[in-house]
Each structure stands twice: as structure tokens, then as C-alpha cells.
Symmetry: none
Subunit: 225 residues, 4 copies
DNA sequence: TATGAATGAGATTTCATTCAT
DNA sequence: GATGAATGAAATCTCATTCAT
């Protein structure tokens, strides 16, 4: 699992010699993740985390610099995965395959991200919550979108446009629509996991279909006055 | 203005004799709104609100039951507007006009909601933040979607489907896609007001076009294996 | 009393409108001073201070930024008095009088500082303790010796040397000896107030006599091999 | 070496079989001494000591009963040396030599103590700091002045007075002036080792000269009204 | 009505010390 | 003997709320 590797890389300082997350750290992170997802970061106390993790309060601070350090340890690995992977997929789909079609690209993207969301519901709930709460975390999330990645994304979109596969709108708008559609799915998944009656395959089909049709070049533009 | 009426209804007890919001209350609400939008409810202290409003801390508690009461006074009016209006629009667009087309409906909806978002950026930022942070506020938002409104929405969508104007997907999925697209716009608008380079008219055009194309009935379905 | 004025000037921010230290602040400072003098800053808890002052713990932080802010409020006024006053005395004694003698100067200086120590035993105990404990407070004390004051002191000493009233040693050494003699008195006074059997007048006489004889120009130098 | 013997006596239990201080103990003491001199006992944590010493935190407690035990191990040897030696010197100077002069006595005393201070700067800084901070350590230091030693000192001073070599003041005052002058030197040496521009020989000369002149019998007393 | 000093429960964090390995 | 993860008591500080003026 790439996420676990990422955590290891990021928190090497506080990990055991062999580069493993310790049992205690796992228990703390698991307890905190569950609580942060249930309530919110601010509403969860360190005492509560320690209790749920079955360790002493001091142990939290032996293993993480801060209460905030625990939050970071939960968010960082996901944040370092979500966007890079997204754009990687995008890259692969277009460069590798013979079929340089919007179809292929979008299906690949949606499939991947939907699977990702399903695997990481709790962490994503925490990240979502922080994203909307805190200018700094928001900046951190946006900071993941490095200029290189953006440039890469632009290249891909420009190619698809040239190939007549993508509607000729500003790239930023296209990205926004892409994110919106995936994000909307994510939000429902994360906040109301129980409501979800459609299976994954079907969901991927709808989202992809919606995006492909929404972003294909137009035969005749809509008129708004 | 429905907002003012709502606040009045909610805080009738503490309003001036003439049933108006007092100057002091206005200053407190304005200060709190600005601060809650900048940071988050939890990160803003009552001291800070009082300072920004230019009143004493105690004055907050003469005018509102609670710190939470201030938040409520900010959220309530918007929450009682946003969804009802949305569905109203939907209703009007379809029932009133001769042109019972997806075009007409979506353009009307998008135009209205985009204008609404532009007028209420700060309040929406607060609501967004609370929505993702606080189970109860989330429930409150979702509670606005009363069964009747949902039923109404379903009627509209079914009609459009029958008229061959709307793709034949589950209504919940269609609603999700609608919300996603509008919500994505909202999020960008609200969190990154400075980034926005497209003017409103153009934005409405793109969003509408995207939705119409994405939700029109298919000639040939996309194949996913 | 110039000390009280100084406190007011320095802590104007946290004082009442009329520039007075409030009753509460007085009680907190008195309690803290007594405790810091008894034990040491580190060994005294905020709970303890609050209890002794008869206020709630939170009240401390309502009136002072910090636990350290309380310490500052105790130390600063003394620190802003002790050295300036010392050198002022020195200045007046030499410049004003006709008798520009070492006698006059030293008697004035010793008299003044001994009286000062007697009035401010507790505060001086706290400052002494901090001076030896903490690089920063030490720097703060030394920071009081502004270049101008030092220059002034040098002028005075040079004049006395020229007048054949002062031994021709490096000024720094002379200052050190002056401080040592006064400081030694201070330490005994502050740490063992009960031991003191000599009255103030007598003490001034001994210290002055010792200094005058020790710092008068030599007839025949001592030989050390 | 009397210091090592003292540590051995005090920590006999935790010493190696051969009664020697172990390498580990040396490293811990060295690290702690440096840190206590830099900051203060209270401000230095056991973690910090362990880090600087290059051992585990637990190791501290295998070698010393306490954090306080480390401090004791640093202070005890000096404390058992400083006063006894001082008074020993005093004794020798007067009893042994033919020249029972104040000169001889003071030069011997100053020379010895200045050399001592130069050798033990760091430890003395720690002791100074503790002396002013901690009632118990202060008592311990003063406890070193046993009645016998005091009696001995009084004998010496009385002899010098009888010989017309020492001013006829109360012995306690004379002792205080002696301590002040040496202490003032010590403080400067210990707190501002870098400021010191005079060499040791010169310093001894000044201090001795100052003391001899200050404490010689007067021809005509100073008049203070 | 408005004030702002006072409150005290509760939050996070530190740190000397223990103990299983 | 050495380790270092775990401990938990205690310390400092925050903050919504109350209440006398």
C-alpha cells in the first residue's frame, strides 16, 4: 500500500528503527482517525484519544509532537497521494494507450478515484473537514498542486483539445468541473456512507458518462442571453 | 427580506420594541460573520468577536443566548433560503414556461444559484465549514430537504424524463450531479474569491452547458467493463 | 514613590482607565512577590499565587499575559530604578557640591543604595534569584546599563582621578569593587534579614569607610610577586 | 583529589567495583554541569541531559537516584572544598609565617580563591544559581560554615586586630566585606567570562590592594552624620 | 442596555521516573 | 548495565459565561 509507505517516509523521525510505524502509533492514529471522523478535530480532546487508544495521555506526546501532529500524521499521507495519483492516472491514460480518447481518460480517472475514496473514507472525512475549516490546511491541500503538476495537467488537456476530444473551454474551468463531479461523489460517500445504494461499478458508469458527455466538444453551443 | 424575518422570528425575545434587529446586533453579526468566514467557528473567540464589533464581551450575551446563538443567527436565514429557493426555481422553470426543456430549467437554476452565491459568499463559507464539521449542522442542512420538497423534485425530474429531456438515471444520482456542479462552483467562489477570472455570465454559460450535455439522454451509452 | 509610578508607566496597558493599578492586580502582585521571594519563580505555581491572592486562577491571566508577565511586573520597576538611580546619585554628588571628594560621593551613594535595599528587600530577592538563574534576565539587568550611563560613570570617575581623589585603576575594576561591596551588603540583607544586628547608620559608616579607604589613591603600592 | 573522594563517598552505592566513577557517570555529570551552568537546574530537563551525554534517559536513573542527585554530585565536592580551603588558607597565612601582617594574609587568601574560581567556573555558576534560588541549598552552603570554622576565623581576626593590622570593626562586618570583594570577582568571572580583560596576576593585585587599604586600621575615621 | 472583571472547568503539554527488554 | 517507550501527575493557559455596577 503506497499510503503506508508514505506515512513511513514522512514520519520517519518518530518511527521505530526499522522504519515501521510502531504498534502504539498505529493505535493512536486509529483512535484519532475514528474520533476526528466522528466529530471534528476541535471537538476531540487528547484525553479522549488516549482513552480510545488505550494509552496514557502522555504517550500521545511521546509519539507525536502535538495534538496537531496527530492530525498531520493522518492527513499528510493522503494529501501526498490524492492529487499526484490523480494526475498520474490522467497522464498514463493519455500517453500510454493507443486510444487517446476522453472516454479512456475519464473512465480511468473516475475508476481510480472512486476506488480511492472507498478505501479511505475516514481519512477523507477528516481532510474535507479541515479543508473547509482552516485556511492553513486549505493552503496545504492546494500546495500539493505544484506548478509542475498543473503544467502537466494543462499539457494533457491541450492534447485532448487538439485531438478534438475535449471541449474548448479554459483549462481551469474543465478542472473545476472534473473536481466538482468527483468531489460531489466523495462528499456523499464520506458523509453518508450508509445512503449509498448503488454499487461501485454502476457509480463509475454514471459519473464517467456524465463527465464524458459534459466535456465532449459541442456540435451546437447552448445559447444564454 | 426573508433573512431579516427569519432572524426576527428566531430572536424575537431580544429584538428592539419595533421588532427590528438593533444596531448592536447588526455589528455583532457582521463581525462574527467576517471572523467565522476567515477562520472557523471554533477558532474564533468571543473576545475577538466583541473586539471586532466594538462592543464589550458581555454585550454578546445580552443579545444572543450563546456563542452558538450568534452562529445560528448567521446560518438560519441562509439555510431557510437556499434550498427552498433552489427547488422553487426548479418548479417555476418547468411548470410556468412553455418550453419544458432541460435547457430552460438548467439555465434558470444555474443563473439563480450563481447569483445567490455571489451575494452571500461569506455566509456560505460559514455554512460550508459547519456542514463539514458538525454533525448537527449537517443534519440541519439536510433537514431542509423535507420529504415534500424531495417529492416535488422527483415529480419535476420524472416529467423531464418522460419528455425525453433528461437522461434516465436514478433521480438521486441526477440530483447529486446537479449539486456537485453547483457546489464545486460555490466552493471555488467562496474559498478562492480572488482566483475567479471569468465573469458571471460566462460562468453560467459553462456550467449550464456542461450540465445540459451531461444530463441529456444518450444516443449511445458509454461502455465500461 | 517613584517605583509605583514606574509600574504604572510600564504596565499602562493592563491598568484601569485612570492609570491606577487595580486592587486585584495589587493583590496578585503582592501574593506573587511574597511567594517568589520565599521559594523561587519556578517552584511557585499559578494555582498557588491565585490562592494566596484570593482570586481565581483565570484572574491571573485576565490581568497579566503570562505567569512570566507577573514576574516582569515585579522586576521591571525595580530594574528601571536601581541602576539609573545609582548613577544619578553619583552624578549629583560630584557635580553639584563644592566638595568634589570621594568621601562625599561614596557616602551619598552608599546611603542611597542602602536605603533602597531596605525598602525593597523582597523584590530584590526575586531579582537576585532571577539574575543568577536566567541568561535572559541577566541580559535584561545588564541592558539597563546603557552606554550613556556607562559613559557618564566614566566621566565621573575620570574627574575624581584627575582631582587626585580616586585610585588610578581601570574604571571597570573600580566599578566592580563598588558593586561588590554594595552587592554583598544587599545579599546579606535580602537573604538573611533577621541576622542583621547593626543599624543602618552604622552599616553605612562601615561600608563607606571601607570603600573610601580602599579606593583612595595609594601612597605606596602593595607588592605582590 | 578531594572532589572525587567526595563523590565516591556520596554515591558509593552506584560506583563501580573499584570505587571509581564510571565513564558513563562522568559523561552525565559533564553534560549536566554544562547545561546547569548555561541555563538553570529547573530549566534543564532530564531528556536534555541524556541527549547531551549521549546516553538514554533511563541511564541517568541507574547512575543517580534522582535528577537532584545529579545536581548534588556536582555541588557537593565544591561545597566541601570551598569554605574549608578558604579558612585553611587564612589559618596558615597567619599562623605559619613570621610576617603576621594583613598584607600577607590577604594576598594569600585572594591568590588562592582567584585560582580556585578560575579552575571551577562552571561548578561555581551552578552553586551560585542554586544558592540564590533554593532555600535548602542556601542552608547547605551556610551549613558549611561550622561553628568551629567561625571560631577559628574569629581568632585569626582578633589576633590581627591586636597586632594593629586590622581595623577594629565587628568581625562579621569584616567577613562580609571580604566575601563581598571575592564574591563580586567570582560573579563577574563566572557570569561574564568573556568580559575579563585583566590577567589573573593583575586582578589579584587590585583585589588585594583594595582589601588591605579598606581593612587597615584608620588614622582618622570618616565622619558621617 | 452595556460593561468588563472575574470565574473555573477543561484543554494541552511537560517531565521526572519506572520497568520490561 | 543500558535502553527508551510508557506513564500520569501537575503545570500553564483558554474561554464561554456570569454578574455587580
Amino acid at each position: 500500500m503506497s499510503e503506508i509507505e508514505t506515512i513511513q517516509a514522512y514520519y520517519a523521525a518518530s518511527l521505530g528503527k526499522d522504519g515501521q510505524i510502531t504498534k502504539t502509533q498505529q493505535r493512536i492514529l486509529a483512535a484519532a482517525l475514528a474520533l476526528f471522523a466522528e466529530k471534528s478535530y476541535e471537538e476531540v480532546g487528547t484525553r479522549e484519544i488516549a482513552d480510545r487508544a488505550g494509552v496514557a495521555e502522555g504517550t500521545l506526546f511521546h509519539n507525536f509532537v502535538n495534538k496537531n501532529g496527530i492530525l498531520d500524521a493522518i492527513m499528510q499521507p493522503i494529501m501526498q497521494n490524492i492529487l499526484p495519483t490523480m494526475l498520474n492516472t490522467l497522464d498514463q491514460a493519455v500517453l500510454d494507450g493507443d486510444s487517446q480518447t476522453l472516454d479512456a481518460f475519464i473512465v480511468a480517472l473516475v475508476t481510480d478515484r472512486v476506488a480511492f475514496a472507498e478505501r479511505n473514507q475516514e481519512s477523507l472525512a477528516v481532510i474535507l473537514s479541515q479543508f473547509f475549516n482552516n485556511e492553513k490546511d486549505r493552503a496545504a491541500v492546494m500546495g500539493m498542486v505544484s506548478p509542475e503538476i498543473l503544467a502537466q495537467a494543462n499539457v494533457v488537456m491541450d492534447r485532448l483539445k487538439t485531438a478534438g476530444e475535449l471541449v474548448d473551454w479554459p483549462n481551469r474551468m474543465i478542472l473545476q468541473l472534473l473536481f466538482s463531479t468527483l468531489g460531489g461523489y466523495l462528499v456523499e460517500k464520506v458523509l453518508y456512507p450508509d445512503l449509498n445504494q448503488l454499487d461501485t461499478k454502476q457509480t463509475v458508469r454514471y459519473l464517467s458518462d456524465f463527465l464524458v458527455n459534459g466535456l465532449s466538444p459541442r456540435r451546437m453551443p447552448l445559447h444564454v442571453d
